[in-house]
């Protein structure tokens, strides 16, 4: 009998260690997810800070595309008010769309396109967009790992204990993929309409 008790105790200890490993693994996955988001957030913040300068430069060259600039300013405002990750993701997508419109202005207005400040800002924001795209892939991989793990057995038991739920990935929307900026393309003669 004592042998059976020892045997059962050993099995219980083994199960306890296994459960501990699963629990710690999930906590580690969650921490990685949060870190992956933080790494995107810091770049989104940098992009957010660059936008006022961009608007200022573009405004000097054209008043015909005020609608596009207004969209960008609104998108920036939405990002500033966003608090949760889903809100920030939506606001970020809106900002990316609006920025495309502004850079299209640069293509349409040669004077603007050759402006040094505009060139530097465009280069800087494009670099930030590339970084956001790369880190978005990394974040989505962390989300996929997390979502898969919390739905697998036996990790689902620990996930329920920790109250973990599925997380939303950071995907480009169809609008973001297909958006074509609508520009007025009314090019003023030099010295007019400023």
């Amino acid at each position: 009998m004592s042998g059976l008790v020892i045997f059962v105790l050993i099995i219980l200890v083994v199960f306890a260690f296994v459960f501990m490993g699963i629990y710690n693994g999930l906590v580690r996955l969650r921490a990685q997810l949060e870190r992956a988001w933080s790494n995107i957030d810091v770049i989104l913040k940098q992009r957010y800070d660059e936008i006022p300068q961009l608007i200022q430069v573009v405004e000097q060259y054209t008043s015909y595309e005020a609608g596009v600039l207004k969209e960008l300013a609104q998108a920036r405002g939405h990002y500033g008010q966003a608090r949760t990750i889903p809100e920030k993701i939506e606001a970020s997508k809106e900002m990316s769309l609006a920025l495309r419109g502004v850079f299209a202005i640069g293509e349409a207005y040669p004077e603007l396109k050759s402006n040094q400040n505009f060139i530097q800002l465009q280069s800087r924001i494009s670099s930030l967009e590339n970084t956001i795209a790369d880190r978005r892939e990394s974040y989505n991989e962390a989300v996929a790992n997390f979502n898969t793990r919390i739905e697998q057995f036996p990790d689902i038991l620990a996930a329920r204990l920790l109250n973990y739920s599925r997380q939303e990935s950071f995907q480009a929307s169809a609008e973001e993929r297909n958006h074509q900026p609508n520009l007025k393309m009314n090019l003023p003669k030099f010295g007019q309409g400023a």
Binding site: R35, N130, T131, D134, N145
Partner: protein, 386 residues
């Protein structure tokens, strides 16, 4: 509890420790696989500071020394150990052990290149004091117990199998310091199995060793010469590379590099506009099964690298300037890990036989417990006459 003879007690302990060792070894590999799978991959150009996972290809650092292995291939990381067989003990306790008589290693930094840029992989670099981390201290204790156990005869040897896995992996050439590697090379190969050219290259590197007659004489087929074996561990130029560890950028100064052959190699392997690796399955898949195996990938990419290096002829003419985005090393929290395969092949290699090991380990431990409580004689009688 059964009344067991001394021999039966030994058998119980061997089964128990061997089974336990197998399970520990399999769990250690599983832990390592889990860490690899769970870590999201970053691209070099956008890698954040801290713990990251990178994947790309190995290339020599600008101005760095390039070693050649016994086959004459260029390497960015190279370890060589020459071991001689010695007989220890006498009578029944007589056994053959391999003693390292020469070792050589390079821990110089090298590049990892992916579709977005270059990172400097620095095995010898540690930030903070890795020895203070809990993991390092546990590994250090496990390594000491392993060394102690392996000197305790059969029992210790089988128990040390599992502890080695937990202590950071077998490394016959010596401790890798603050970093860990998982390379497909590193298996011992008898001296006699090397070709004439390989022997010449090894002899050139080893030179004369005091008190050791090397290379062994072929007189009477080497009957009266010492027995030697060679362990080579390397990462070839162009080899697939997987790394995780601590990444640090130098945001103040942009570091750039030009290296012979890198532009040609990068143009063959990467689509720079898409910031992604090209799909080269049709070039790499030699056996036509529609999949690129680990060996096919290794051979294909290292061949492309050799071609690119040969074409460059060690000159920088026409070479693009690449930005070195940061440096990767070990820290107190994150030990640098380097493997010579990409993630999918690495995980497959680590998981090979994993389930079998666990199953065998559990069976052996159950067998030892049954033997302890019931007795092997009784088990035998039950099996013979159910």
């Amino acid at each position: 509890m059964a009344n067991l003879s001394n021999e039966e007690i030994k058998l119980v302990l061997i089964c128990f420790f061997f089974g336990g060792g197998l399970i520990l070894h399999a769990l250690s590999r599983k832990r390592s696989v889990r860490k690899i799978e769970d870590t999201p991959r970053s691209k070099v150009a956008s890698a954040p500071q801290g713990y990251v996972e990178l994947q790309g290809f190995a290339w020599p650092a600008a101005g760095g020394k390039v070693e050649r292995n016994a086959q004459g291939h260029e390497t960015v990381y190279y370890r060589l150990a020459l071991q001689r067989a010695e007989t220890r003990g006498s009578g029944k306790n007589r056994k053959k052990v391999w003693v390292t008589v020469f070792s050589y290693s390079t821990d110089t930094p090298f590049y990892l290149i992916d579709a977005t840029g270059i990172a400097l992989i620095d095995p010898a670099r540690t930030w903070g004091n890795p020895a203070l981390s809990v993991e390092s201290q546990v590994r250090s204790v496990a390594a000491k117990v392993t060394n102690f156990a392996s000197g305790m005869g059969v029992l210790g040897s089988v128990a040390s199998l599992g502890l080695e896995g937990f202590a950071g992996g077998r490394n016959a050439i010596g401790d890798g310091g603050g970093y860990e590697t998982d390379l497909g090379t590193g298996r011992p190969k008898a001296w006699s199995r090397h070709s004439t050219e390989e022997k010449a290259l090894i002899c050139k590197r080893v030179g004369k060793i005091a008190g050791v007659s090397f290379p062994p004489s072929n007189f009477l087929f080497g009957l009266f010469s010492d027995e030697f074996r060679v362990i080579e561990s390397e990462i070839c130029v162009g080899s697939p590379l997987y790394v995780h560890g601590d990444f640090k950028t130098d945001s103040q100064n942009a570091i750039t590099a030009q290296v012979p052959g890198l532009t040609e190699f990068a143009s063959r392997v990467f689509n720079a506009d898409a910031r992604a690796q090209k799909n080269l399955t049709h070039f790499l898949d030699k056996d036509g099964d529609g999949k690129v195996s680990a060996i096919e990938a290794m051979r294909g990419y290292t061949f492309a690298a050799r071609q690119a290096r040969l074409k460059a002829k060690d000159q920088l003419t026409g070479e693009k300037t690449f930005e070195v985005h940061g440096r990767m090393g070990s820290s107190a929290e994150n030990r640098l890990f380097i493997a010579d395969l990409h993630e999918e092949h690495l995980v497959a290699r680590k998981q090979r036989y994993g389930s079998l090991e666990i199953a065998a380990g559990i069976l052996l431990m159950f067998a030892s417990l049954f033997g302890f409580f019931v007795g092997f004689g009784e088990i035998g009688r039950q099996i013979a006459s159910p």
